[in-house]
């Protein structure tokens, strides 16, 4: 049923093209036609040549004609737009579902078998349904090559779907303005043949294998990169949105807890709390509500790897 021989990147490319080019085509014809007519009149009825204007107040028949014809054209344009869009709202029953978690300012993807990825990997020829979740503000998944886009609304769960038809690496952007790093909120979409996908999908060691376990903190660094922590935290001492990791471990600093300034020492318990309940204690000088909880996203085990990494940045 789902053909993989199509040359277009996704199953929605042709419906977009039909809708887009039907409107653009008619529009360009009319634009050129009307502009040329205007220039012709201006030339022909120039006062230098045509000293006296004819007295004409209107023509009801013409008015009716140029009301009805554009109306019919417009309804035709509407139809193509509607016909191409309708299937987008009706995802098929089969296919794979990938939970897409958007937060300021990264996407992460959670597969049905628990596999997590920073890159959206999908099989060619199979309907892919993205379950869209935002933990903070509005975002929007936009895959230009596939001609699809859907906003992600915090507090609502939405589905968008498509069938990748051509293997390749495509851009996926956030298209709804979401603050400072909005233009950096993107990820790769990698469409690969089914067999390759199956291998990737079942290989849960993939992440571990890229990490050199002998380097202290390497695993923690990879986890943070995957989770997009680096959009807000640097490792070199510069302030982005949140405090830098540099020299964080073991330092004493003031946080605001329930409106009160409290002096705390950065230890394992503090880091754990910062990740699971980031808004319970706010580092003085920073803003509340920006970092969202990673509860159920980052395991206790991963937190200890993150801590190992932070220790390497101790001053």
């Amino acid at each position: 049923m789902y053909s993989t021989t199509g040359i277009e990147a996704s199953n929605f490319v042709s419906s977009f093209d039909t809708a887009f080019f039907s409107v653009i085509g008619i529009s360009i014809l009319l634009l050129v036609g009307i502009t040329v007519l205007m220039l012709y009149f201006v030339f022909k009825y120039n006062r230098k040549k045509n000293k006296v204007a004819e007295h004409i107040e209107g023509n009801t028949k013409l008015e009716i004609i140029w009301t009805i014809i554009p109306t019919l054209l417009a309804l035709g344009m509407f139809y193509f737009g509607w016909a191409g869009w309708h299937p987008m709202k009706n995802p098929p029953k089969d296919g794979i579902t990938i939970t897409t978690i958007a937060r300021m300012w990264n996407f992460s993807y959670l597969y049905e078998n628990g596999k997590q990825s920073a890159e959206l990997v999908v099989p060619v020829g199979m309907p892919v349904k993205l379950k869209l979740i935002s933990v903070d503000v509005l975002h929007s998944v936009f895959i230009p090559a596939f001609r699809v886009k859907e906003d992600i609304i915090p507090g609502r769960e939405k589905i968008m779907w498509f069938i990748p038809q051509k293997a390749g690496v495509y851009d996926l952007y956030c298209a709804e303005y979401c603050g400072l790093q909005h233009s950096y909120m993107s990820s790769d979409l990698r469409a690969i043949p089914q067999e390759e996908f199956d291998k990737w999908y079942t290989d849960t060691t993939a992440l571990a294998s890229t990490v050199d376990e002998s380097v202290p903190g390497a695993a923690g660094f990879v986890i943070m990169k995957t989770q997009g922590c680096n959009a807000c935290h640097s490792s070199d001492g510069s302030k982005i949105i949140g405090p830098s990791y540099l020299g964080l471990w073991g330092k004493q600093h003031i946080v605001v807890r329930d409106g009160q300034d409290v002096l705390v020492t950065v230890d394992s318990a503090y880091i754990r709390k910062s990740i699971y309940e980031p808004n319970a204690e706010i580092v003085k000088g920073y803003q509340k509500g920006l970092m969202q909880s990673y509860d159920k996203v980052i395991s206790e085990d991963d937190i200890s790897k993150i801590i190992d990494y932070l220790k390497t940045l101790e001053e």
Binding site: F20, N46, N50, H55, A74, V137, K149, I153, Q181
Partner: protein, 537 residues
């Protein structure tokens, strides 16, 4: 009233009242002086907004950081949007030319409530002050975009509340102006001027005024809800309080879509005055022009959902909004056909205002047709929130309203100042402006089609070429703006004196001296003919 004095009444510019110097202007209730107050304020904010736009275009000329940090860029596009929409384009033609000309065009001595009229200008200034405060007080300028979408706008450190309040106060000022205009048109038309003898510019002001009156309160309601949410923690829009961000979008666009027609209707009205005058011919299909104005004002209320096709509304709502969006284009098409037909068999005098009107028709058509593209559901999904949309609305709002504003400026300039401008410079400015405009915005359609999202501080290399061309267009455009404004400024002081009717116009403003006397008419005229009656010529 006293009998005729022998010496002519002083013009509104020379008139000496109770107050002197600047107070003679900022305390004047003369609709003409108030119109000028708006003109200078609007021009000031237009220049600020344009410079912000130019700086943004510098940033976008190359990927990565070019001249500013992302936070600055985000604050710039927010302020650019707020100023251009709320302080320039929405008040725009009604506040400047409506105030100056509406009473004269319908044969009245002033608007119905002159004091309220002056008060509206103060409310406008108050709105601007609030916007300025939002930039400097507290933790930093707002960075949410002019749409203030929830819930981001509730999280950001920027000063949202003064900014939204400022937007509302500016809207409130336009409600007062709208109310004033409606009453003026109902009660103060000269004897003999039936509704269908009223010129088309007043008609579009009439349609606009109703939109202002009925749609702007929605902003007020939204603002109250935002305040309640922020101070009392009642969840309307913020999901973390149990609210719904989509509700915010509905409320925002229920106002802001009709606002687009607030911006464009008076522009169409001005063009409908210019074309007959220079064609020396009656407007083609007067009654259809009136009907299409009212149709746009009415249907314009019901299309706001087209800004939210990807937000997640029900299917039925979506295609209803799509179909209405296509239908609202029909009355605009009718206007274009009538303008072109007015030129047919006319005797066309190619003067600067007419060139502006032609340029308007072209850019407005581009804006309108790309609006149809965006109204199409399947096309919208891909193009929404890309540079295609940015290009589209700049073609409508800057291309449509902006071109019409300059058309109106060059058309009524001799009436307003009693002096003529230098035509050669005026035409040079227009050519630069037009070329710059097309070079700036045309590539954005392509960028959007290729998938470049809007409000992007940085972008991938694929989008580089289009951005270079677009940024260079901005320089030409700014050069054009500079030539136009400098020329008009100089001519207002030093231009040759203008006669009462330099263009051979037929509407009432051309029957009074240039510049008009304080009371407009020595004697209120009695109207017997239609507004564009050239049959005797």
């Amino acid at each position: 009233m006293s009998s005729h004095s022998s010496s002519p009444e002083p013009s509104y510019i020379e008139y000496q009242g109770k107050y002197k110097g600047i107070f003679a202007w900022i305390l004047s209730t003369d609709h003409k002086r108030i119109g000028m107050l708006y003109l200078y304020s609007i021009m000031t904010f237009f220049i600020i907004g344009a410079v912000l736009g130019l700086l943004m275009k510098f940033e976008l000329i190359a990927p990565g950081k070019t001249v500013m940090e992302p936070q600055t860029y985000n604050a710039f596009f927010t302020l650019h949007g707020i100023l251009m929409i709320f302080a320039v384009v929405i008040p725009g033609l009604p506040a400047v030319f409506g105030n100056f000309l509406l009473p004269i065009m319908i044969g009245a001595k002033d608007v119905a409530f002159p004091r309220l009229n002056l008060f509206s200008w103060y409310v406008y200034v108050l709105g601007i002050i609030l916007v300025v405060i939002s930039q400097f007080a507290g933790e930093g300028p707002p960075d949410t975009g002019w749409t203030f979408y929830a819930p981001y706008s509730f999280r950001t450190a920027g000063n949202m509340l003064p900014a939204v309040l400022g937007a509302f106060v500016l809207g409130f000022s336009s409600i007062l102006t709208g109310l004033n205009f409606i009453v003026t048109m109902h009660r103060m038309r000269a004897p003999g001027m039936g509704w269908f003898k009223m010129p088309l510019f007043p008609w579009t002001l009439y349609g606009t005024a109703w939109i202002q009156l009925l749609a702007t309160p929605v902003v007020g309601v939204t603002l109250l809800m935002v305040v309640a949410e922020r101070t009392l923690n009642i969840g309307f829009f913020d999901p973390s309080l149990g609210g719904d961000p989509i509700l915010y979008q509905h409320l925002f666009w229920i106002y802001s879509h009709p606002a687009v027609y607030i911006m464009i209707l008076p522009a169409m009205g001005a063009i409908s005055e210019i074309i007959p005058t220079f064609s020396r011919k009656s407007i083609f299909g007067y009654k259809f022009m009136v009907a299409s104005t009212l149709a746009i004002a009415f249907v314009g209320y019901f299309v706001w959902g087209h800004h939210m096709f990807t937000s997640g509304m029900s299917g039925t709502a979506l295609y209803t909004f799509s179909i209405l969006t296509f239908l609202v284009a029909i009355p605009s098409a009718i206007k274009v056909f009538n303008w072109i037909s007015t030129m047919h068999k006319g005797s066309i005098d190619m003067q600067t205002p007419f060139y502006w009107a032609m340029a308007f028709i072209f850019v407005f058509m581009v804006g309108g047709f790309t609006g149809l593209v965006l109204g199409s559901l399947a096309a919208n999904v891909h193009l929404h929130n890309t540079h295609f949309v940015v290009a589209h609305f700049h073609f409508i709002v800057f291309g449509g309203t902006g071109f019409a504003f300059f058309a109106a400026m060059h058309y009524w300039f001799p009436k307003i100042y009693g002096r003529m401008y230098d035509t050669r410079w005026a035409n040079t400015g227009l050519i630069l402006f037009f070329i710059g405009f097309i070079t700036l915005y045309m590539p954005m359609f392509y960028l959007g089609y290729m998938g470049m999202p809007r409000r992007y501080y940085d972008y991938d290399e694929v989008f580089h070429g289009g951005n270079i061309i677009s940024s260079m267009g901005a320089w030409v455009l700014i050069a054009g703006v500079a030539v136009i404004i400098i020329n008009l400024f100089r001519s207002a002081k030093h231009g040759p004196k203008a006669v009462a009717d330099p263009w051979g116009g037929k509407t009432l403003e051309w029957t009074v001296p240039s510049p008009p006397p304080v009371e407009n008419f020595e004697e209120i005229p009695t109207v017997t003919k239609g507004p564009y009656d050239y049959s005797q010529d």
